[in-house]
């Protein structure tokens, strides 16, 4: 790419500068600082979302009983127990927080920002100020969602899917008032932030690659992030517009989603000739691709991590890229499988069914290629590797149960039951979150210059893995018994009382899984300050970020490296060492001991 080369000649002259405190740590345009800002915000919201999940589990295991310790000050008016409105808020906010404030900001905001310029040999994003804006647009979203917790009805009460008319008519439920409006405003900010971010990522990856780094030499991580950013740029405007339409329905008297002549809670809707199903189409047109937005970057990162710790090239690089593109492309034509029971024409149902099932093919290509990557390698059992391997097996469970409900006739039965809950938690927790842990253990040394403790990491892995399965696997059983989602009191009128012991077991596992994360939190902060020093390339990995100091200096590279080979040259017999970095341009690679003193002198 000639245009890219000429751009680098201009950027070569950038003089590293030391900005002041505010410009460096708060209103920074440095992609690394913004990446860490996203990382910390998302991890804090992860705690929040986890706490909400624990409260949901409490209600499923000990319905209508007082929550010890916190119950008395959380729900004074209810006598220390969860009320139905509060339960509604719990599952609404748990979904919203985990998807929009944790997983997407973690993958694209934190890892995307941190890794893209480093892995493609750029000094920063294509549009650094836009990048800063996309982080700071998250703050109005954070604040407005926090405010929603204090609005009447404890918080929004229509689920994270916000189906009208429950979400558009103020009288429909206790949480359909201001809380719902704040929820919409919050997501609107997230949407705009993510659209800006994704445009930035696409531009950066397409135009700022270092000389010699052509598209088929990109690490899979970058492929994953690129395809995800394209998905987001195409799908998210649809949701954003739908959010605005719902806001207009609520405040400006339009009638996109609310039908006429409904009497909801003694309130009559007049003169609005809307279609509730329109919202479902618009919502899922974004939110199904969002499922792939939440898994493709992790698939990329896991590919890189597997190769690094198996000391082997990736098996089938091109099929891996093509299968990712196929998953993304097909991801746009499967949204209807969320609406099989909405009254969709059976013909449309079968169209969405076949497209949904076909997505299993590129996904299985990825799984087989990962397996073949392990074959014949020299496998190092680091914590990061353990999380990556478990990502694959957990993702398989989530993927296979997806085929079960892609079959319409079975979906008629399991739709809106815990079978669905089990499925997407296997994909999003067993898949994405396990992958995120893998990536954190892998890139933490680059981010903070110190290693995470491996012993603590392995305990963290073991406990998380065991209790993750203890929590989510039995939910399949609940599901095929017909145990429904989103019920504050599924045991009402004595139904499902025989499932109470199973639910208690799930809750105990969920509590244990949450407790296991304490190990990670302690490890994270301890290692950040007192961990073993990492040096430039602790894992002997090939990609460009490992050729600079840990943490990398402002503007990343002293000289933009020239890339001479692909990212997976592990154990190449033509090379002495078992890894062969992508750039052997020694200018950017001189060995330096990573101490604060030498770092200062470099500047």
């Amino acid at each position: 790419m000639k245009s890219a080369d000429s751009q680098f000649e201009n950027r070569e002259s950038v003089v590293p500068q030391q900005p002041g405190f505010w410009r460096h740590y708060v209103f920074s345009t440095d992609h690394k600082v913004i990446g860490l800002q996203f990382l910390f915000s998302a991890l804090i919201w992860l705690l929040m979302g986890g706490a909400l999940a624990m409260a949901i589990r409490w209600q499923m295991a000990w319905p209508w009983t007082r929550i010890p310790i916190i119950g008395s000050w959380l729900f004074q008016s209810e006598g220390g127990q969860i009320s139905p409105e509060f339960y509604t808020m719990l599952f609404t906010m748990h979904g919203t927080v985990m998807i929009f404030f944790v997983i997407i900001p973690l993958l694209l905001g934190a890892f995307g920002n941190y890794l893209i310029p480093l892995m493609i040999g750029a000094r920063d994003m294509a549009f650094p100020k836009l990048n800063m804006l996309s982080y700071w647009l998250m703050w109005p979203a954070f604040i407005s969602l926090l405010m929603a917790f204090f609005a009447p009805g404890y918080g929004p009460g229509a689920g994270w899917t916000a189906y009208p008319p429950l979400s558009t008519v103020w009288e429909a439920s206790p949480g359909s008032g201001w809380a719902q409006t704040l929820w919409l405003i919050s997501l609107l900010f997230v949407g705009v932030s993510s659209i800006l971010g994704s445009i930035n990522y696409i531009a950066t990856i397409l135009f700022l690659r270092a000389p010699g780094l052509d598209m088929l030499r990109l690490p899979m991580t970058i492929w994953g992030l690129l395809i995800t950013a394209i998905l987001q740029a195409l799908a998210l405007p649809v949701l954003t517009v739908a959010l605005v339409m719902q806001l207009m329905d609520r405040h400006l008297g339009t009638g996109f989603f609310t039908p006429d002549n409904l009497i909801i809670n003694n309130f009559e809707t007049v003169g609005t000739v809307g279609q509730p199903l329109l919202w479902q189409h618009l919502f899922w047109f974004y939110s199904h691709p969002a499922v792939y937005i939440m898994i493709l970057p992790i698939m990329g990162m896991v590919s890189d991590i597997l190769c690094c710790f198996a000391r082997k090239p990736l098996f089938g690089y091109r099929p891996m890229v093509y299968s990712m593109c196929a998953i993304a492309g097909m991801g746009f034509v499967v949204w209807g499988h969320h609406m099989f029971v909405s009254g969709m024409h059976p013909f449309m149902g079968t169209v969405f069914m076949i497209s949904t099932m076909m997505i299993a093919l590129p996904s299985s290509v990825k799984v087989f290629n990962w397996l073949a990557t392990l074959w014949g390698g020299r496998i190092h059992f680091t914590t990061s590797m353990l999380f990556s391997i478990s990502f694959i097996s957990m993702f398989i469970i989530g993927g296979l149960s997806g085929i079960v409900m892609a079959a319409n006739s079975i979906d008629e039965f399991v739709h809106d039951t815990y079978y669905i809950v089990a499925h997407f938690h296997y994909v999003l927790f067993g898949g994405t979150i396990m992958g995120v842990f893998s990536a954190l253990y892998f890139w933490f040394p680059k981010m903070f210059g110190r290693m995470l403790n491996e012993t603590a990491g392995k305990w963290h892995f073991l406990l998380t893995f065991v209790f993750l399965n203890g929590t989510f696997f039995p939910m399949h059983i609940l599901g095929w018994r017909g145990f429904p989602r989103r019920m504050a009191d599924p045991y009402f009128s004595g139904q499902f009382l025989d499932l109470l012991p199973l639910n208690r077991m799930i809750t105990w596992c969920a509590f244990a899984m949450a407790a296991a994360q304490l190990i990670f939190i302690v490890n994270f902060f301890y290692s950040m300050f007192w961990g073993q020093r990492a040096g430039k390339n602790p894992w002997h990995a090939n990609t460009l970020e490992w050729t600079v100091d840990s943490p990398p200096p402002h503007d990343n590279f002293q000289h933009i490296p020239t890339i001479t080979r692909g990212p997976y040259e592990y154990s190449n017999p033509e090379h002495d060492e078992d890894y062969w970095p992508q750039a052997d341009d020694s200018a950017g690679l001189e060995e330096s001991i990573n101490t604060p003193a030498t770092k200062a002198s470099e500047r």
């Binding site: 009497i263 809307g274 509730p276 082997k312 009254g343 059976p346 496998i379 097996s393």
Partner: protein, 361 residues
């Protein structure tokens, strides 16, 4: 809020309340198969389940084998292996494709079967609202529990009066959203006699989990008629009231003292109720009548103003019958003798009697 043990105990001690229905749920496997759709769902589920299990075991088995065999240890070197293998890659992309086509054909056939109603089906209109179900039969009768005849296909024409709901009977394997502003359709052919659970599975508001009812499947039309469609005039006001209660009220009110969307109506006659403004009122004929015709006027504490008015929807006879039934739910309440006579005679007696004159207008 809800004492489950209390609920179970309650239903057994109350003589007028029918014994707790015997549901056949239990076990950690599928609910019992009570409709013709089980053959569309269960075998395909098991097929995909076993195929998935084989794939999962194979992949994870290989993975564990590789991870152990190729672990890093002194002297172990990376083996020379292909970076890709076109034949292998095509094989593992195409072969699962055939399995998927099999699942697709099987699933689509079942889906069409579950969505296309046979021509001879009986039509039942379903009205869903926060938080109860109402079923209207071809003969004009209506109930809040669903009564079906075994082996008779029945089509449900469903509408919602407020938000989204979803009609789900696990034993029938059938589910269909009920969408406001349009009709949705579904059908079943029950194949087993018994009582099954029907509940809403689309989140519909804070009392969503209370939106449950029963499906009764009878062996014959006669049995179904006995349960619901007897001539009014021959029965006592209490019996008629019970039938009306089941048609109009039981979606939101229990006939014992357990709270549902509205308060339970068992044992309330003569009781002092605390209202939402803090004042109290005695549950008597007048309060009963006012609550039916103008439900928001004196709201019991802890409940939303959610009940629709029955002004113009119930005639005086019906209000009288309902009053008789609800009064009979309080064990100590004085039941007038005429309430145990056939309805046609009871009405005349009350009209001519002085004093405690119920539902007079």
């Amino acid at each position: 809020m809800l004492n489950l043990i209390g609920l179970l105990a309650q239903t057994e001690s109350e003589s007028l309340v029918p014994a707790a229905p015997e549901y056949r749920d239990g076990s950690y496997w599928f609910p019992e198969a009570a409709s013709s759709f089980a053959k569309d769902v269960d075998p395909l589920f098991m097929l995909i389940f076993w195929v998935s299990l084989v794939f999962f075991a194979a992949i994870v088995g290989f993975m564990i084998y590789f991870v152990i065999k190729y672990r890093d240890r002194p002297g172990h070197k990376v083996e020379k292996s292909a970076s890709h293998n076109t034949a292998l890659e095509i094989a593992w992309s195409v072969l699962p494709g055939f399995l998927l086509i099999w699942f697709f054909v099987d699933g689509a056939a079942g889906f069409f079967n579950m969505r296309v109603t046979p021509g001879d089906a009986e039509q039942i209109q379903v009205i869903a609202r926060q938080f109860n179900w109402e079923f209207h039969y071809p003969n004009g009768d209506a109930t809040t529990e669903l009564h079906l005849v075994r082996n008779r296909p029945v089509e449900f024409v469903m509408e919602s009066r407020d938000v989204l709901h979803s009609f789900f009977v696990p034993a029938f394997r059938q589910k269909q959203d009920v969408v406001p502003g349009r009709y949705t359709y579904t059908w079943v052919k029950p194949t087993k006699e018994g009582i099954f659970r029907l509940y809403c599975t689309e989140y519909c508001g804070d009392s969503h989990s209370l939106m449950k009812t029963n499906v009764h499947v009878y062996n014959s039309q006669e049995e179904r008629d006995q349960a619901t469609f007897y001539p009014w005039e021959d029965e006592t006001p209490i019996k008629n009231g019970q039938r009306l209660f089941n048609m109009k009220c039981s979606g939101c009110h229990n006939n014992n003292d357990v709270k549902k969307t509205g308060p339970g109506l068992g044992g309330i006659w003569g009781k002092m109720e605390t209202l939402s403004d803090g004042s109290t009122v005695e549950v008597n004929d007048n309060y009963f009548r006012e609550s039916l015709l103008n439900p928001g006027a004196k709201l019991v504490k802890g409940y939303a103003n959610q009940m629709p008015s029955f002004q113009g929807k119930l005639n005086d006879d019906q209000i009288f019958w309902l009053r008789a039934y609800i009064k009979s739910l309080t064990p100590n309440a004085k039941i007038e003798d005429e309430l145990n006579l056939p309805a046609s005679e009871a009405r005349e007696k009350v009209d001519t009697a002085d004093g405690d004159k119920p539902a007079a207008e």
